[in-house]
Every structure is written in structure tokens, then in C-alpha cells.
Assembly symmetry: C2
Homo-oligomer: 198 residues x 2
């Protein structure tokens, strides 16, 4: 059976972004650069967690995670990651606007899904069989999957910062128990992994 | 100089209580019993953290932490903890209603402070000198102290549960950087300590 995992970096107060996300500031206002310092400034210290983020067999992401645009597609836009995105696998992008598949270098192909989270998950399962499917963000997409009970393992990367406003992880997610798998602190982040029993 | 610390148990989504707190359900609705299981079910595993919670030289708490009442005092009420509360030191209770000092067995004396958080802190500093002052909760009181920049060390005890609604830690606290001191996982909780630089 496919396993659905999710990695997300959040602040101590639970935000994955600030407010006012734009092309220039994809994570919005506030001290949001603190959220991902652990990845860029201490890569060796967090090598295992960084590797796990892109170790899945397929990925599902919200449109905001793919690009800053809204409404009809700007077909010149091919994601934030350049010609060779770090996924190297199929990536299913949730959108209300149809678009043809977009193959990139290195094995990443973006597929655009207009049928919602279940449709994206069905496509990902078809592509991967018993593989691992990663919900790649952002918080709004993760919250949809959490609320629907579709995530098996949630890996939080809690950065030492208070952001105060923005997209908050768990917004709209109903009360439920989690099971701690592990936690580890490194210089700029605390990693906590939860198993979600359905 | 006095050092101000704060311990608080929160859910993975950041709540310290559920909604609808009452005498019978002081932490409100939802799976709130999960918040403190680590203290009661795995005391030995968390002996150091439990000891630290009551190791201060003085304590400050909100009225809701002292009792369920609102408005004028029910003088029969002497706190949730029985005749010998676990503090064994002066405890300053924030309230809008004056009340005489309430000495208990074992060295705990409750002092009722109507002048707000700064007045309580001043009294605690006068009593302890260079000692440690603990902000004992609840979340509303902790948030007031955090927003005012009056806490030096924040120790989160993150329980593996989603509560969904209630009093949330960090509500109204402005954006700011924190400094990780330590983190440790045990069976039912992840402990994270932050230093707050002012």
C-alpha cells in the first residue's frame, strides 16, 4: 500500500509562511527566512532530514508551491526550481486551471490536477504502486490532506522563530491523536516525526 | 538579575487548552488530557523536566490557573492543588479583584495582584532578588509576558495531539527570533527549550 508522508518547516508558533506572499517574497512578510536556514546553513548537520524530503516516489503540491501565479497559466513559468528540479519523479500540482504535462530535466514531470486532493492522490498511487508519496506543501495543501486523514507520517521541522501571522499548519484540521516516532535537535531546527493512525 | 522562565505544555497545533474551560474540565473540551499524560504516565522518564517546572523561587499565574471562578472571589477556593500546593514559594496570582494573601502548607503563599503583569513581576523580583521566577500559565498570561518581552527562557512540552481550538500559545506575540537551547523526546512528549534574547 502506498505510504503518504509530509515534510513541512514551521515556526515555533506554527506558521509555514508569513502574510503577503509574492514572486519576490514567496514565503511572505516577517522573519520567514528563519524557517529554512537549517537547510541552507547547516546542510551536513541535517543531511538525513534533507535527503528524506526528496526521497519519495511521487510528490503532490499546491499551486502556490509551484509558482506565484493565480488564475490562467503563464506557460513560461515552470516552477521555482530551474530546469532540473530536485524531485526527479512525477509531481502532481493542484490547480483549478488545466495545463499540459511539463517534463523537466532530471526526471521531474509536473502534472496538473484539477480534480482536488483525492484525484491527485489517485494519480500518484497509480504511478507509484506501493511507493512513498510526499505532500510537498504548502500549508494549505498539507492541511487539506491532514483534515481528510490522508497522511501517514508528518515530519515537522520547527525553526526557532515566532512569525505571528501567515499560513498556519493544522488550521482546519480536526482534533486527533498523533504518535511520536522521533525527535532530534540540531543547531537551527528541531525535527519531530509523527505517525498518524487512521 | 532575576531570570524569568516559563514551562507550558502545548499540542502539536499549539494549544494549551481546549475551548469551554469549567470547574469539571479545567482544560476545556477536546483531547486535552493528552497534553499532560507525559507528566502523569511517564514521570520517571521526564523527571528532570518535571522538577524544573516547580524549581523556581517565585511563580506568577493567571487567575484561571488558580481557579475556575470569575468576578468576585469565592473565599472558600484556595487553588486546584489542595492544602499543600507544589510550589512551596510565593505565587503571584493576576486578578482584577483584590484578595488577602493566602498562606498554604508547605511554604506556598498566594498573593493576589491587581496591577497587571509588570506589577506581579516587580513583586516577584522584590521577593526573590536574583532568583528564578516562573510564569506558570495559562497561555493567556504567558502570551502577555511574551508579548512584553519579559520571558528569558521558554520551555515547550509538545504533546502528540491536535486539539483544534482553545487558548493558543503565541497568540498576539510579535515576530521575533528565538535561540534553541535543547530538545529531547520521550515517549509522550517532545521538550524544546528556547532562550529569548531581548
Amino acid at each position: 500500500m502506498a505510504r503518504v508522508v509530509c515534510d513541512i518547516s514551521i515556526s515555533a508558533d506554527g506558521f509555514a509562511t508569513g502574510v503577503h506572499q509574492t514572486l519576490e517574497r514567496p514565503f511572505g512578510d516577517g522573519p520567514v527566512e528563519q524557517l529554512h536556514r537549517w537547510m541552507f546553513e547547516t546542510p551536513d548537520e541535517n543531511a538525513a532530514e534533507r535527503a528524506a524530503i526528496v526521497a519519495a516516489d511521487a510528490f503532490i503540491m499546491g499551486r502556490n508551491m509551484f509558482g506565484p501565479g493565480r488564475g490562467e497559466w503563464d506557460l513560461e513559468w515552470s516552477g521555482w526550481w530551474g530546469e532540473d528540479p530536485p524531485y526527479h519523479k512525477p509531481v502532481y500540482v493542484l490547480t483549478h486551471h488545466e495545463r499540459d504535462d511539463l517534463p523537466m530535466r532530471g526526471g521531474t514531470t509536473f502534472h496538473f490536477i484539477t480534480g482536488g486532493i483525492e484525484a491527485a492522490l489517485t494519480r500518484a498511487v497509480e504511478a507509484t504502486g506501493d511507493g512513498t508519496i510526499a505532500i510537498a506543501g504548502g500549508a494549505t495543501t498539507v492541511n487539506q490532506f491532514l483534515a481528510a486523514g490522508l497522511i501517514d507520517e508528518l515530519r515537522l521541522h520547527i525553526a526557532p522563530v515566532v512569525i505571528g501571522a501567515g499560513e498556519r499548519l493544522f488550521d482546519g484540521v480536526p482534533p486527533q491523536g498523533l504518535e511520536q516516532i522521533s525527535a532530534r535537535v540540531s543547531t537551527l531546527v528541531t525535527h519531530i516525526s509523527y505517525k498518524i493512525n487512521h
